[in-house]
Amino acid sequence: MHGEIDQVRNEALAALAAAQTSSALAEWHSHYLGRRGVLTQLMRQISQIPPTERPAYGQAVNALKEELSAAFTARQQEVSAQELAQQLTAETVDVTLPGRQPTLGTLHPVTAMIREVTGIFARLGFQVVEGPEVEYSAYAFDALNIPQDHPARDVWDTIYIDSPGREIVLRPHTSPMQIRVMEQRQPPIRVVVPGRCYRYEAVDATHEWHFHQIEGLAVDEHITMADLKGTLAAFARQLFGQERRVRFRCDYFPFVEPGVDFAIDCMFCHGEGCRVCKGTGWIEILGAGMVHPQVLRNVGYDPERYTGWAFGMGVERLVMLKYGVPDIRLFYQGDLRFLAQFSRTTVW
């Protein structure tokens, strides 16, 4: 009888080695080790064995069963590993095919620049406030020391709004918010005001009738022009690079005195002179100055006690300088292919 056990063993191990797939293995298992399998049959034959040999026969069958079980487990692991390897091989893709990309939109570059600039000033302690675009002339001009019939008004070619009473305009600058803020608060004041402005102006590559400005205002005791220069320098260096040199030149705005134009050295030619800086080596980026005493008086502040400074800059110009945008019309008349290029804009 032991010969039969050996034969089963040899056959079973050979068949196991030949099984290449999980299903062949399952078949093998049920054939040999299943409830009605070969080993069960062998064990049943024990009744036909002389009683004295029965213990030895039983042990031999059991030993074979254990051996085959162990061999099966080992083989199963092998086959499973093989099969996984085959599956993975079969699943190979062309990794250079495009992925499934979620669509991402883009902030308008003007929004991004307003965030960047107001962010810089917020870190310097300035609060961001906004104000009306449709504004009384009294705020847009008179309170800012720009009288009616004064040539200074020509600087702001203005769009007027139909009004039965007080003169109303589309604000040509964000400066009226200087007045509104000072009327609503008491010093110390430190605010920046982003917003849309409008001018009665022909549109060309560098002029828009609709554009954005950011106004800044600081009023307190002991506010000086040296602070203005330092604050603007800190701002310009954060926006345009730490190596920027800065320059004030005398300029005239009726609501400041002294008034200046603030320039940085040209980052395109490093001050050598190029087309962007018109050969001067300097790029003027904003107008500024000490708040005119008359403006302080107009809001009920005592100019002997308080001093202040204000500045105003064009947002589109900053974007054009920072990213080399050639034509201001692209901002509002351009299309998505222009805007999409700002998807890498760093936003704080």
């Binding site: 009665y200 602070d227 030149r249 005398c250 005493p293 299309d335």
Partner: protein
């Protein structure tokens, strides 16, 4: 203002290069916008003498001119009609760079020797246009007789021109003398003032009169006899030309020259043509008309200040003279008007007449009345130089309220108080002296005060801050240190509306929409286009009801299509969408901007912050993974459903909406906490078409009033614990009538499922043979989870029963088994 550097250097001798002069002036407030170089191309152009002229053997209209220049003696073929023997001319040699005389645009070319009708031309005599001096190409330029021959033309005529921007406050620098004074103060050089005639009133004092003393502060009249309208001398013409003015004749040129030199406009009248031979400054009479020297007949309103003779207006004061009394060939006696007019009046009239002249630009800035006398003396000096035989027969000066220098007291500490830095007393006083401000230091109590005496020509200096600026700009702002403000720090608050705007922008960008900014102005046609029939503006603009009041309207719009402030983002979004669809198959855009709702009267409009979204074209361009399909209602609804909770609006519902501009079956009102805050829907195809979007495109738009949303209160983040037990998902299919909105069924399921349901998701809508006709089956997957225990089968069975009961009661639905 165009400033000849040659002339400037004559007034202020300086070693500085032209670039350095430009920089000094710029930093001090006289912005030099450009430096033009006259003659920079003139390397091979010399002065020459026309020695002989012979006819061209083969051409009637051409001549052969022999032109000598130094050792050269060239034969030049020319067709210039004005060439004559003995003339001094500009001679260009081969290789010279010239402007093309026949090109309208300035175009440079190089002169090559050429053969014209068989005769070789060895050079060229040049017109002003070819030299880049003017547009004159009528004939050759003839140089003055005393021009040396054979020298580079640049030595005779070359110049540099500073283009200086004169800001509105700078009347004192709106002249050569003014610029020279500035440069002198900046470079510590004295100014060489021109010679003035000695003059005193004589003859008839009523030669001139002021009949509107509020508009005319001074009127000086001088009668000069024995003059003729001959050409003015070359040097004067040249300076006028460089400044951009056209020489006319000596009489007119003198007045223009004095204006350039001193900044005081003057006008010369032919006295023979003046009724009564005298001039009066008065207001125009009702309906009075005048033909000005530009040949325009003008009707003058009664606020216009005119210069009149005894019968009629002969000039618009400070702006332009009249044609009838203009200097002409027969003029022999001139009445020279030098006056001071009210700046506001001149400005109003110049605007009303749409006539800005060199004179009005100066008067508008507020001239010094004392300048009128100086300018008169200067003009008389020039008349005497140019017309040695002329006689001054009458000088009248009406100046009822003479103006005197003012004093300004500047406390010494004001300088550091404003500037944040200080300069030495010596430096400060030196600057003030150089500016002719005659500073004196006095002691007032404990305080030092600098008293300056401001010459009347410095009308821009009125307060102590002006004097501080003078000191700073002359010493130089580069001396100002860079510091940060000191003082009390104020907590920086954040405006919640700005926070909401930022969150909306960021969320929409994350959802794949691109932000646009549009002009916020529209016209009536854009509003009518919101109505499918385009008959009249609909009763609703996007989210907003049509206001009862007229919209905010510009008096002087840039273009008619930008005449009104938009009452909704919808028109500008649609316009942008149509534009973008031309170049993009898939358009998904948004704008966060304002709408401007009228409040009536002279109140400012209600500027509300609104977000508008628009999807158009295809939802996704075709790629490996997506088939292309048109956008529809649910694409944008999903965007809004993500947006609103993200910014803190949790109680959001959508109600079917009948809206004039939207698809009648695909439009919804967006409701937060029971209040409408926006609209959403597919744009009515006819409305889209009115905006230029072709019918085959679907367009979905939404508009949400962020100001209203914020006013409703946005929920902060609230955190609740999560269960550690395995959640259980169960599906429920509810059969309801077709008409029952899904939102009601969902709400019923949620109610029935009770607090253990953490998520209710509608995942299928089925219509078909398995359910009765007129019904639909909505399949929900509900996730259950309890905090403290695993859910038992009994609990789930009980919940199932509750759901069945609630959907039956609420929406007449049946739970399919």
């Amino acid at each position: 203002m165009r400033v000849s550097v040659r002339w400037l250097r004559e007034l202020v001798p300086t070693e500085l290069s032209t670039e350095a002069i430009a920089e000094r002036l710029t930093l001090a407030g006289l912005a030099v916008e450009a430096i033009e170089r006259i003659g920079e191309h003139w390397e091979k152009i010399f002065t020459g003498l026309v020695e002989a002229i012979a006819p061209h053997p083969n051409a009637d209209r051409l001549v052969l001119a022999t032109v000598a220049a130094g050792t050269h003696r060239l034969t030049v073929v020319t067709g210039a009609p004005n060439i004559a023997v003995g003339q001094k001319v500009a001679l260009a040699l081969p290789g010279a760079t010239l402007y093309d005389g026949h090109s309208i645009e300035p175009r440079l070319m190089t002169l090559t020797p050429s053969t014209i009708r068989g005769i070789r031309s060895e050079g060229m005599v040049c017109s002003e246009k070819e030299l880049g001096l003017s547009d004159d190409h009528e004939g050759i330029m003839v140089l003055p007789d005393d021009t040396p021959v054979g020298v580079p033309l640049a030595d005779v005529l070359g110049d540099e021109v500073l283009e200086i921007e004169i800001t509105p406050n700078l009347v004192h620098a709106f002249s050569m003398i003014g610029i020279a004074r500035e440069l002198g103060a900046l470079t510590k050089q004295p100014v060489n003032y021109p010679a003035l005639a000695e003059l005193a009133p004589c003859g008839d004092p009523t030669l001139v009169a002021i009949d509107a003393s509020d508009l005319c502060a001074r009127f000086v009249g001088v009668v000069i006899e024995g003059v003729e309208p001959v050409p003015s001398p070359w040097w004067m013409q040249q300076r006028l030309r460089v400044a951009g003015m056209r020489p006319i004749n000596a009489i007119v040129d003198i007045t223009n020259y004095v204006m350039l030199e001193y900044g005081q406009p003057q006008h010369a009248y032919d006295r023979a043509r003046l009724h009564g031979g005298r001039l009066i400054a008065r207001r125009a009479r009702p309906g009075e008309t005048l033909e000005t020297i530009d040949h325009v007949h003008r009707t003058l309103d009664p606020d216009t200040l005119v210069i009149a003779d005894e019968e009629r207006a002969v000039g618009i004061a400070g702006i332009m003279g009249g044609r009838e009394s203009e200097i002409d060939e027969e003029t022999r006696v001139v009445l020279l008007e030098t006056a001071n007019f009210d700046m506001r009046s001149i400005r109003r009239t110049a605007r009303a007449q749409r006539l800005r002249t060199e004179a009005s630009a100066r008067f508008e800035r507020g001239l010094d009345p004392n300048l009128a006398w100086t300018a008169t003396r200067r003009a008389v000096m020039l008349f005497q130089q140019l017309f040695p035989q002329s006689r001054i027969t009458n000088v009248a000066d009406v100046y009822p309220h003479p103006r005197f220098p003012r004093q300004i007291q500047v406390p010494r500490r004001e300088i550091p108080r404003l500037l944040g830095t200080d300069f030495s007393d010596d430096e400060i006083l030196d600057v003030l002296h150089r500016l002719e401000l005659a500073p004196e230091v006095i002691q007032e109590g404990h305080e030092q005060v600098i008293v300056v005496t401001v010459p009347t020509y410095r009308s821009d200096l009125t307060i102590k801050a002006d004097i501080v600026e003078e000191i700073a700009r002359v010493i130089g702002y580069d001396k100002l240190p860079e510091r940060l403000p000191v003082g009390q720090t104020v907590p920086v608050e954040v405006d919640p509306l700005l926070q909401l705007v930022r969150a909306v922008q960021d969320t929409l960008v994350g959802e794949g929409l691109t932000e646009i900014i549009t002009y916020p102005m529209i016209d009536e046609a854009a509003l009518r286009a919101l109505d499918p029939a385009e008959r009249e503006a609909p009763n609703r603009y996007g989210f907003f009801a049509r206001p009862d009041l007229p919209l905010v309207r510009a008096v002087n719009p840039i273009r008619p299509e930008w005449s009104m402030m938009r009452p909704s983002l919808l028109p500008t979004l649609l316009r942008a969408g149509a534009e973008h669809l031309k170049f993009n198959a898939a358009v998904s855009i948004f704008e966060v901007g304002k709408v401007y709702l009228p409040r009536g009267g002279d109140q400012l409009p209600d500027e509300r912050r609104v977000v508008g979204c628009l999807l158009a074209g295809v939802q996704h361009v075709r790629d490996l993974y997506h088939e292309e399909r048109p956008v529809d209602f649910f694409d944008l609804k999903g965007t809004i459903e993500v947006l609103l909770p993200r910014v803190g609006a949790l109680d959001v519902t959508f109600r079917p909406l009948a809206h004039p501009s939207l698809h009648p079956g695909r439009a919804a009102e967006i409701v937060v906490k029971g209040e409408p805050v926006g609209v959403l829907g597919e744009v009515h195809p006819l409305v889209a078409e009115h905006y230029g979007i072709e019918r085959h495109h679907r367009v979905v738009a939404a508009e949400i009033d962020l100001s209203a949303l914020l006013a409703l209160g946005l929920e902060p983040i609230s955190v609740h614990p999560v269960s550690r037990f395995q959640p259980i998902e169960q599906d429920f299919a509810i059969v309801v009538d077709e008409a029952v909105p899904a939102a009601l069924v969902t709400e019923a399921v949620r109610l029935g499922a009770g607090p253990l349901a953490t998520n209710v998701r509608l995942f299928d809508v089925y219509r078909g043979p398995a359910i009765p006709a007129g019904k639909k089956s909505l399949a929900f997957r509900v996730t259950f989870s309890a905090l403290d225990q695993p859910l038992s089968d009994e609990q789930l069975a009980s919940i199932r029963e509750t759901i069945a009961r609630v959907v039956h009661e609420r929406v007449g639905g049946a739970l399919r088994q």
